[in-house]
């Protein structure tokens, strides 16, 4: 397996980015892939651990040591098959996953984890390039019909698994195109959309029917769905954004991040937004509130628009540059993460609370007023924030993007009309064993069930939910969890 001493002999070497000045000029991906021989060599670094922590770290439980070994031995196709056995869409995760697997890689104890994500991406990109990836059409079909609501990663994974088990699957998508946040949330420079299109083509061949512009609970009756189908999988995501109720929130120029990002994705795809409602950062002082991945995407997009300045604010204090491995590994560590978008130009400020927005002469937002925070241990054992007296700050802000995450799924419409129980956080109540909601025949998976999370978690839930549905429909199931 791999090379027992590979990790001692071979340095970690990962994909690189095209230069900033070049990549800011376009919306395409800018990662430089490794050559086959480089990938193979990196695969040799895998230690084939007795306990592969990566494999637990990975939400879809990719059987990482095995395909690292396949890469090392240049058995690309075997590696790809194995990868596909746990992950329907490695080309998505190979691009946008934050790679918890690498955080939990044993070599991360030395900050030199195996380049797992790169190897994953290489395997699947090669598979597409070589034409190895074909539809897997079920030999036998059942007479069961399943509706999948939502076409993000959870819905797609769920639909693909069910179709491969021989069920008739219909995917309902409220937007005009399939893909959910994959298509509309993630900027093209991080993942180009043709990657989704070819998966849709594959799934159509496998028998999945896609119905865009079908907003269940709005223009499609939810109860009808339950009536017409043998099972319904709700994979509608967690789309209710967290708001910032401070004075000035209503000012023009203060937007949710997702309004900004979806517009841009449509723009790149060729469908332009009416000029009046366009949100552009060009020449503006942009403040992004929220330090997560969405915030980071806003930074990258703003810079590509040609913003005058970009500032990203975070409520929490600045995390350490380097985590304390002794207390964090193999878990996902809290540490300062600098994305490719940050590298493209951005000021990051931490422990700042936004108190209000002030309008400029044009009535649009012009300034952000904030105050610095100090975080102290609270009586309840947690941390609490205290405003530091006299530390008020004011920032120029022509465009403010709220990227503070999502609270829970949208309750209006479908969820309310189906009368589903919710968990205390407002997500659809269902466990991770059966994924069954409080209503018969109705299942839920992905962010709609677990709250906002990663693409890779969505894929996991979609797959597992499909298994549960298959078992529900047929009594037994061959689908893997």
């Amino acid at each position: 397996m791999g090379k027992p001493t590979g990790f001692l002999e071979i340095e970690r070497h990962d994909r690189s980015y095209r230069p900033v000045e070049e990549r800011l000029k376009h919306w395409q991906e800018f990662i430089e892939p490794l050559s086959d021989s480089e990938v193979s060599e990196q695969g040799a670094r895998c230690m084939d651990c007795g306990i592969p922590y990566c494999h637990q770290g990975c939400p879809v439980n990719n059987i990482i040591p095995e395909w690292n070994d396949y890469a090392y031995r240049n058995k690309w196709r075997e590696g790809l098959d194995l990868l596909h056995s746990t992950n329907n869409f490695p080309e998505f995760t190979g691009r946008v996953c934050p790679a918890p697997c690498e955080a939990s890689c044993t070599l991360n104890l030395q900050d030199t984890p195996v380049t797992i994500k790169t190897i994953e991406c290489s395997l699947v990109d090669k598979g597409w390039a070589k034409g190895w990836i074909k539809p897997q059409i079920a030999a036998h079909h059942t007479d069961k019909r399943v509706a999948v609501v939502g076409s993000g990663p959870a819905g797609l994974a769920c639909a693909q698994q069910l179709a491969r088990a021989g069920h008739r699957v219909v995917v309902f998508e409220k937007n005009e195109r399939i893909g959910g946040l994959l298509r509309f949330g993630i900027p093209d420079f991080k993942m180009e959309k043709h990657l989704i299109d070819r998966r849709i083509a594959q799934m159509q061949a496998e028998g999945v029917e896609f119905r865009p512009n079908s907003h269940v609970g709005v223009n499609v009756d939810a109860a009808d769905l339950v009536k017409d189908f043998d099972a319904v999988a709700l994979c509608g995501g967690s789309e209710h954004p967290r708001d910032l109720p401070v004075p000035g929130r209503e000012l023009p120029g203060v937007h949710y991040a997702m309004e900004f990002l979806t517009q841009q994705n449509r723009r790149v795809a060729g469908s332009n937004t009416p000029q009046a409602s366009e949100i552009m950062a060009t020449g503006k002082h942009v403040v992004v509130i929220g330090g997560g991945d969405t915030g980071s995407d806003c930074v990258g997009t703003s810079n590509r628009h040609g913003a005058a300045s970009v500032t990203q604010l975070e409520l929490m204090p600045q995390p350490p540059e380097k985590e304390n491995k002794a207390l964090s590994w193999p878990n996902w560590p809290l540490k300062l993460r600098t994305s490719s978008s940050h590298q493209e130009g951005c000021v990051r400020d931490f422990a700042v609370a936004t108190k209000s927005f002030t309008a400029g002469p044009d009535g649009r937002v012009a300034e952000l007023n904030g105050i610095r925070l100090e975080w102290k241990p609270s009586e309840s054992g947690g941390m609490e924030m205290v405003e530091v007296a006299g530390s008020e700050v004011t920032l120029k802000a022509d465009l403010v993007l709220l990227a503070m995450g999502f609270v829970h799924p949208v309750h209006n419409g479908m969820l309310e009309s189906l009368g589903l129980d919710l968990d205390p956080r407002g997500n659809v109540q269902a466990d991770t064993d059966k994924y069954a909601t409080s209503q018969p025949k109705v299942f839920a998976a992905g962010d709609m069930r677990r709250g906002q999370s990663l693409v890779v978690w969505a894929i996991r839930e979609g797959r597992q939910c499909a298994r549960s549905i298959d078992e529900f429909l047929m009594g037994t199931t061959d689908l893997p969890r």
């Binding site: 397996m1 027992p4 001493t5 990790f7 001692l8 230690m47 084939d48 651990c49 007795g50 306990i51 592969p52 922590y53 494999h55 637990q56 770290g57 439980n61 059987i63 040591p65 095995e66 098959d81 194995l82 056995s85 939990s104 044993t106 070599l107 104890l109 030395q110 897997q136 030999a139 036998h140 491969r164 002794a326 207390l327 964090s328 590994w329 193999p330 878990n331 061959d478 689908l479 893997p480 969890r481």
Partner: protein, 1540 residues
């Protein structure tokens, strides 16, 4: 009427709880005394008893001081005496030879006794003999122990006269045999207890046995007859038993009717089965119809020795002579022995097809009254020394010096050698040599001709063609249906096919037992290999290959009692039992060859579970058995191939193991088994363990076609390297090697006796299943029945042929050997390890509780047996602050035995420092300890390990090491690899490790599988005594591994005076071990601990020994359950390592541990981050959790909690599809301690140290020990003075360390026969001189002292032709010198690390495993010299020129001695072992002459130039290379220095 099904105790307690009387073991002191002139005299009886008295230390005393384990004596019938005593009753005794005396033990109950007496009278009459009368044997039971008295039988003698129709004495003996058997049978169907008390110690016209549950010295008092001067005999066979139990069993006292036995028959279960299997094809011209009256043949005792006696008796009655029968049952190692006479080899080969060896360590003494003889098994693992006097007395015993005979009368001193026989013929009045006896028997018939006519070798049959490998899709389906997973390919088949070795892994197993697993497991996974511990030694199948054999015979076995005809049956022989596809076709088509003698039937073992022909698996198995019976009984087939080749989408294969066991046992029950050969053609078997099981349950040969196909596919895919044929042959080789290792673990040398021997425990199988198909196998916790097995099989099958996406193109992940999410469950997961490490590093108890919650949570997935327990309070909860503090509880904690070498210095010392801080104990492991660790560190910490391990390699076990211990742990077995030795490869032996282990850097080190000074329980007692002498303050501990029967071993260990015993679970870890062992040997600790505790309590031995449990203890709950099942102390290895940073990489064996724990790589060691605080936190948290649970349960102290099974409740696994049948209630069986018997350790052992001669020595040498004033002393010595010198050396080492005193400061001269372990661990500065001779283990662990032994000046013997010291001399010697004027026994200088020795000849296996030092042999050596010798040098005087054939040249080279080498006297000869040979050798011979006065030495020195060319030098290849490397390094360093 089956006796075995009753599982009663034959005087032992019946099976209860975890205790099973079948597991009892024994060992002993034994021997005989005989007057060659055959003059009966009263004195011989008393001499025999005196000898037994001198072997007292080889017997044992249990809780009751008067109750020994039994002693006895077998003598000629004292004719005059009998005449006299019967005359008093008015009965006239017929002429000598025309009458027999039956010695009878009768029930105490009147009614039963009358029944028994009537039975004897009735059958005597029926058989046409004349019963003349009965005599009450007078006894004095005041010498009986209280525990024995209730069982004392009524003892009578019956006088029987030869009947008128009985032509001769031989016929008379046969009739007596029939009478005895028949009489016995008459009571079998009566009341349960009755027949057990009815027993014939003997019934013969020649001999009589007096035996009983008395201490040997009391035998003469108990049997009043002994005091009569007419009570006379010319021979006496005697025996003192040391059994593992303390239950009084009169019938198990020895001798039996023909023999007494020191040793153990490992293959007993198989031998008994095979005997029963012969019923149908056995007939005897001599016994005629009487043969039928004898069944069952085996069975009036439960011990291996009594069973052996039963079988021997049948052969003798069937017409074999005693020595002939003995050669047949305990054959020498004949295969591949170039030195053996071809006729004798033919003899053995001929009989090997008739009967499988009764394999196991055995020294047997036997007699029929006309001859008295003794023999040793092929391994020669029991001591047997004898002397011959000038007036014709022969005394043979386990030790020399047991009878005070003046030296001037002794004309010969010799020993029994491995496989050899000593016969004293009382009619010819002479000793018949082994050579003569065997040549005569071997020439009696034309065995070679018979062989040529009947023996067919498979390889000689015409070639056939085997089927080709199927396409990839079919192959995958087959693999899946037979349960292959990715790990089978990755960890087993591929490496086996590429390297020809059974693959190696590391760490332990932490996944569920098969019955508890949620996965569909193979039937093989339910079985665990048994292994030898304490009561018999494992073998080293590599270094002692000469005794091993994989030869198998396929097909019908010849009639055992068909004497002298050469037999009609053809016999088919294979070199080893794994058949290639073409070999199998040869067997399938054999009918066309060999005159149609063989007919092969291929029996399909597949079935359908749907459709018109649907069957359940149980029905299918039944059909298969019926079919097998039919084709043998009615259709004349004599080879059956059980085949699953027909497995396909519709046909499900019955697990091959199930089919094999079922058919094998069915045919045994039908008495047909020996009429047919059983071959298994299966896609299922692939790992070594699988083949072992098939063999163990009766397969004579196996064809794993799917394994071959899989390998072919691997080879084809790789497209480079190995050819297909080569890969197959490597695989076969790997399986063979692996099987040899598994066999040798149990001390079994031949495949023939392993076949059908069932050396396994089942864990998690129902009794119904076992009784039906694996009859006689132990299964203690019930579990899966055939329906569950069917379910598992059918699940696999439908997965394989179904359309599940995961299995469409790939195998299951497996996940046993490395964690996988969709694989098997593990206890250690990323989550549990991460949580534990974060908890101990941040001193966060809450997080620790989160860790234990995760480990303990077995609600969804069962992981181990203790998961089936619930804790329940025994009283009101106790406030936490009233519970014993954590600081006290942690003192019961110890870390596991991991050597410096297997883990890094950092990892090792961190554990030691932490344990010393909390008052717990850390363990050195096997590898010595750097003496710098004995001094405290400046901050008060100490790196000293309180537990010092003494393992078979004895690396670094110096006197200084021993005296620096609080516990001395004798490692009998290790959880991950019980019954195996180990090997530290040369590249891991750096300078530091070499220094600590007293070896050479760069030279690999081998730990032998057995301790060469522990082949039996009495040997263990001796080693305990040795260690206790060196360091009287230390507790001596014995580490055992859980298996069925470990309880009785623990009882024996307690009787051997161990202060402490460890019961390890099979999930314990290892730095490197064959995967076969890690996964498949030993049992869970819950079983072993419960059995040990229950057995110790039943024996009233519990209080005097501390019981520790280890092997997968991870949480406070585990600790509490351990205590409740009976543990005083707790060991932690893997969990403690994890606390200091181990992340279970399972790479220990590769030296690539990325966290610096199990590696010696300096770069990787830097990555170690563990701190003593982490370990301290771990154990403190553990103790806190224990306290919390104790408070809930209502216990204030651990002592209160030990053995309190009522605090455990059983939680049935009702909703588990497989585990619902598992039942752990037996672990909780109530064992009521007798009044006043303690159930936790609170007493201490009486080691009898006050008797040691060393007290006198220490007193007399006080000034020398303390002040270095030289002293010279003299003492007489006899064999009961054991371990002389060790205690004094301990005193010296305490004061002066390993450096000791200046040379010859204390000089002691002894005169007489020294007991065992003379001069053990003798320190530097002490010189011992012995005029006389010595027993085994002279100079064991020698740490710098000097020993010289020479014969008494009064002795007329020729020293160089007689034995002077026993076996296993200089075992583990570190340094010092020895000179022996005479010959040494077997294994001279075994594992010598640095001592110098001169001897005038030695037995087999000389210099085995030697790693350093110099040995000179001025005479002949035995076979297998220098096996496993990796260091040091030896010089042999090879006058006969045949040494090369006696030397095992696997690791050494022979070379002449360079006489011409310059001798300018400027350089020290010690500086370079590769040079100055002539000078060195001469110097040593001069020393030899100086210290012993050897005339041999003088002769050589006087003719130096003539003798020098006859010397051969033995140099290990690696040693030479390592020395050269060191020299080169030194030279380049010097050069570099000069250059600066």
């Amino acid at each position: 009427m089956s006796q075995t099904s009753r599982r009663n105790g034959y005087g032992l307690p019946v099976e209860q709880g975890m205790y099973d009387p079948l597991n009892e073991h024994d060992a002993c002191g034994f021997g005989f005394i005989a007057d060659i002139h055959n003059k009966p005299r009263h004195e011989i009886v008393h001499q025999a008893l005196e000898i037994v008295h001198h072997l007292d230390h080889r017997g044992a005393i249990g809780a009751d001081p008067l109750a020994g384990d039994g002693a006895g004596i077998l003598i000629q019938i004292p004719d005059a005496f009998m005449r006299k005593v019967f005359a008093k009753q008015g009965i006239e005794v017929p002429a000598k030879g025309d009458y027999a005396i039956g010695m009878v033990f009768l029930p105490r109950d009147h009614k039963l006794r009358d029944l028994a007496i009537k039975a004897v009278e009735k059958t005597t009459a029926e058989e046409g003999q004349v019963l003349l009368g009965w005599r009450d044997v007078p006894t004095d039971n005041s010498v009986l122990g209280e525990s024995v008295k209730p069982n004392e039988p009524v003892i009578k003698q019956v006088l029987i006269k030869r009947g008128p129709n009985t032509p001769d004495r031989a016929a008379f003996e046969r009739k007596l045999y029939v009478i005895r058997k028949q009489a016995h049978h008459a009571l079998w169907d009566k009341d349960e207890g009755s027949w057990q008390d009815f027993y014939f110690p003997s019934m013969s016209s020649a001999t009589i046995v007096y035996k009983g549950m008395v201490l040997a010295p009391n035998l003469a008092k108990y049997y009043v007859d002994f005091q009569d001067p007419d009570f006379a005999t010319a021979i006496a066979l005697f025996h003192q038993r040391f059994s593992t139990n303390t239950f009084p069993s009169w019938r198990l006292a020895q001798p039996f009717r023909f023999l007494c036995h020191n040793g153990e028959i490992n293959t007993l279960r198989g031998n008994v089965n095979w005997m029963n299997a012969r019923r149908h094809n056995m007939s005897s011209k001599i016994l005629g119809d009487d043969l039928d009256k004898l069944w069952p043949l085996i069975g009036d005792g439960s011990s291996d020795s009594s069973t052996f006696d039963n079988a021997l008796e049948l052969l003798v009655m069937g017409g074999y002579s005693l020595s002939h029968a003995m050669m047949l049952m305990i054959p020498e190692a004949w295969k591949d022995n170039p030195q053996m006479d071809p006729k004798r080899r033919a003899f053995y080969e001929y009989y090997s097809a008739m009967m499988e060896p009764w394999d196991g360590p055995a020294a047997m003494a036997f007699t029929d009254g006309k001859q008295i003889a003794a023999t040793l098994d092929r391994n020669g693992l029991r001591p047997a020394r004898y002397i011959v006097t000038d007036d014709g007395l022969v005394v043979m015993a386990s030790e020399v010096g047991v009878l005070p005979i003046p030296e001037e009368k002794i004309v010969q001193k010799w020993r029994l050698q491995p496989g050899k026989m000593l016969v004293v013929d009382l009619e010819e009045h002479r000793i018949i040599s082994d050579e003569e006896v065997k040549n005569e028997l071997a020439s009696e018939y034309p065995y070679q001709d018979w062989l040529d006519a009947t023996q067919i070798h498979l390889a000689d049959l015409p070639p056939e063609i085997g089927p080709m490998t199927p396409d990839a899709k079919t192959l995958l389906d087959q693999q899946q249906a037979f349960g292959y997973n990715r790990e089978d390919l990755k960890f087993f088949l591929e490496p086996m096919a590429e390297e020809g070795q059974d693959p190696i892994g590391s760490m332990g197993r932490d996944f569920p037992l098969a019955a508890l697993s949620d996965k569909s497991r193979m039937l093989y996974d339910y079985f665990f290999q048994n292994f030898a511990q304490v009561t018999n030694p494992p073998i080293d199948p590599i270094r002692e290959e000469l005794v091993m054999s994989l030869v198998s015979f396929i097909g019908p076995r010849p009639d055992l009692l068909d004497l002298g005809s050469g037999g009609k049956h053809k016999r088919l022989e294979v070199d080893q039992p794994i058949l290639s596809n073409t070999d199998l076709e040869r067997i399938r088509r054999i009918e066309n060859h060999v005159d149609g003698e063989f007919r092969t039937y291929t029996l399909d073992i597949c079935y359908q579970n749907t459709g018109p022909n649907r069957q359940t698996m149980a029905q299918a198995v039944d059909r298969i058995c019926q079919k097998a019976e039919k084709v043998v009984r009615e259709q004349g087939y004599n080879i059956i191939i059980l085949s699953d080749r027909c497995m396909d989408a519709d046909n499900i294969a019955v697990p091959a193991l199930l089919a094999t066991g079922a058919v094998h046992h069915h045919l045994i029950r039908q008495g047909l088994r020996t009429e047919v050969g059983l071959v298994v053609e299966t896609g299922e078997a692939r790992r070594v363990h699988d083949f072992c099981l098939l063999a163990g349950y009766g397969a004579e040969a196996m064809n794993p076609y799917l394994a071959f196909d899989t390998i072919s596919n691997i080879v084809a895919e790789k497209g480079e390297g190995l050819s297909e044929a080569k890969a197959h042959s490597y695989y076969i080789k790997a399986v063979g090697k692996g099987m040899l290792k598994v066999m040798s673990k149990m001390g079994i040398s031949t495949y023939q006796s392993y076949c059908g021997a069932q050396i396994f425990d089942a864990v998690g199988l129902s009794s119904d299943l076992i009784d039906a198909y694996f009859t006689g196998t132990a299964t203690k916790v019930e579990g899966s029945g055939i329906n569950e097995i069917a379910e598992e099989t059918e699940r696999r099958h439908s997965l394989a042929f179904g359309d599940g996406p995961l299995y469409r193109g790939d195998l299951d992940v497996g996940g046993d050997l490395a964690f996988r999410v969709r694989g098997e469950e593990h206890v250690w997961t990323p989550e549990t390890i991460g949580t534990l490490q974060h908890a101990v590093r941040s001193a966060n108890y809450k997080q620790f509780k989160a860790y234990t919650a995760k480990i303990n949570d077995q609600t969804a997935k069962l992981k181990n047996l203790r998961g089936l327990f619930d804790l329940k309070p025994v009283g009101k909860p106790v406030p936490l602050d009233e519970v014993e503090p954590a600081s006290e509880i942690v003192k019961r904690f110890a870390t596991g035995a991991m050597s410096f070498g297997s883990i890094s210095w950092e990892a090792h010392t961190t554990l030691a420092i932490a344990m010393n801080r909390i008052g717990g104990r850390s363990n050195t492991g096997e590898g010595g300890e750097d003496e710098s660790r004995y001094k405290p560190l400046p901050n008060g910490d100490s790196m000293k390990s309180r537990i010092k391990q003494v393992a078979s390699g004895r690396f670094g076990v110096t006197t200084e090491y021993l005296v620096n211990a609080d516990d001395l742990q004798i490692k009998m077995a290790q959880g991950a690899k019980p019954g195996e030795g180990g090997q530290l490869p040369g590249h891991k032996v750096d300078e530091w490790i070499a220094r600590v282990r007293h070896s050479t850097p760069g030279v690999g080190l081998i730990s032998p599988p057995p301790h060469h000074d522990i082949y039996s329980i009495e040997d263990l007692a001796q080693l305990i005594h040795d260690l206790k002498n060196v360091n009287p303050k230390a507790r001596v501990s014995v580490k055992l591994v859980s298996e069925v029967g470990v309880g009785t071993v623990a009882a024996g260990v307690s009787k051997a005076y161990a202060d402490h015993v460890t019961i390890s679970g099979h999930d314990g870890g290892t730095g490197a071990s064959p995967l076969t062992s890690i996964l498949n040997a030993g049992g869970p600790w819950e079983l072993g601990l419960a059995e040990a505790h229950q057995t110790l309590v039943m024996n009233a031995l519990r209080g005097r020994i501390s019981v520790q449990v280890d092997g997968g203890i991870r949480t406070g709950r585990d600790v509490v359950i351990g205590a409740l099942l009976g543990a005083d102390e707790f060991g932690f290895a893997t969990s403690a390592l994890i606390a200091e940073g181990c992340i279970m990489m399972r790479k220990c064996h590769l030296n690539t541990c990325p966290v610096g724990v199990a590696t010696q790589d300096p770069e990787l060691r830097k990555r170690f981050t563990g701190e003593p605080e982490h370990i301290v936190n771990f154990f403190t948290f553990m103790a806190e959790e224990v306290r919390e649970i104790m408070a809930e349960l209502g216990f204030r102290t651990i002592n209160e909690m030990i053995g309190r099974r009522e605090a455990l409740d059983v939680r049935p696994a009702v909703d588990h599809w497989k585990a619902h049948g598992v039942d752990v209630t037996r672990l909780l069986a109530p064992v009521k301690p007798a009044e006043g018997v303690n159930i936790y350790n609170c007493e201490s052992q009486d080691h009898g140290l006050e008797k040691a001669l060393d007290h006198q020595l220490i007193k007399d040498a006080k000034d020398a020990i303390e002040g270095g004033t030289p002293v010279s002393l003299e003492y007489p010595i006899i064999n009961i003075n054991r371990t002389v010198g060790a205690m004094m050396s301990g005193e010296i080492a305490l004061r002066h360390g390993h450096a000791g005193l200046p040379d010859d400061t204390i000089h002691v001269k002894f005169t007489g026969n020294a007991g065992q372990s003379f001069g053990a661990w003798l320190s530097k500065g002490v010189s011992f001189e012995l005029s006389g001779d010595a027993n085994d283990y002279v100079g064991k662990g020698l740490s710098g002292g000097r020993i010289a032994v020479y014969p008494s000046p009064k002795s007329p013997i020729v020293p160089e032709q007689n034995i002077i010291v026993g076996n296993t001399v200089l075992y583990g010697a570190i340094s010092g010198e020895c000179y022996f004027r005479g010959l040494a026994g077997e294994r001279f200088a075994v594992r010598n690390s640095g001592a110098t020795a001169v001897v005038e000849g030695c037995g087999d296996h000389g210099c085995e495993y030697m790693t350093g030092g110099t040995v000179v042999v001025l005479g002949e050596t035995g076979r297998n010299f220098a096996a496993g010798m990796s260091g040091g040098i030896a010089y042999i005087l090879d006058e006969a020129g045949d040494f090369a054939s006696l030397c095992n040249q696997g690791m050494v080279e022979l070379e002449p001695i360079d006489a011409a080498e310059a001798d300018d006297g400027t350089e020290d000869v010690a500086s370079d072992p590769m040079r100055f040979d002539a000078r060195r050798l001469k110097g040593l011979i001069e020393n030899h002459h100086r210290y012993t006065g050897s005339s041999r030495a003088k002769q050589i020195l006087d003719n130096w130039d003539a003798y020098l060319p006859k010397f051969v030098k033995i140099v290990p290849v690696d040693y030479r290379r390592a020395l050269r490397d060191m020299q080169e390094r030194a030279a380049s360093e010097t050069a570099a220095l000069a250059g600066e």
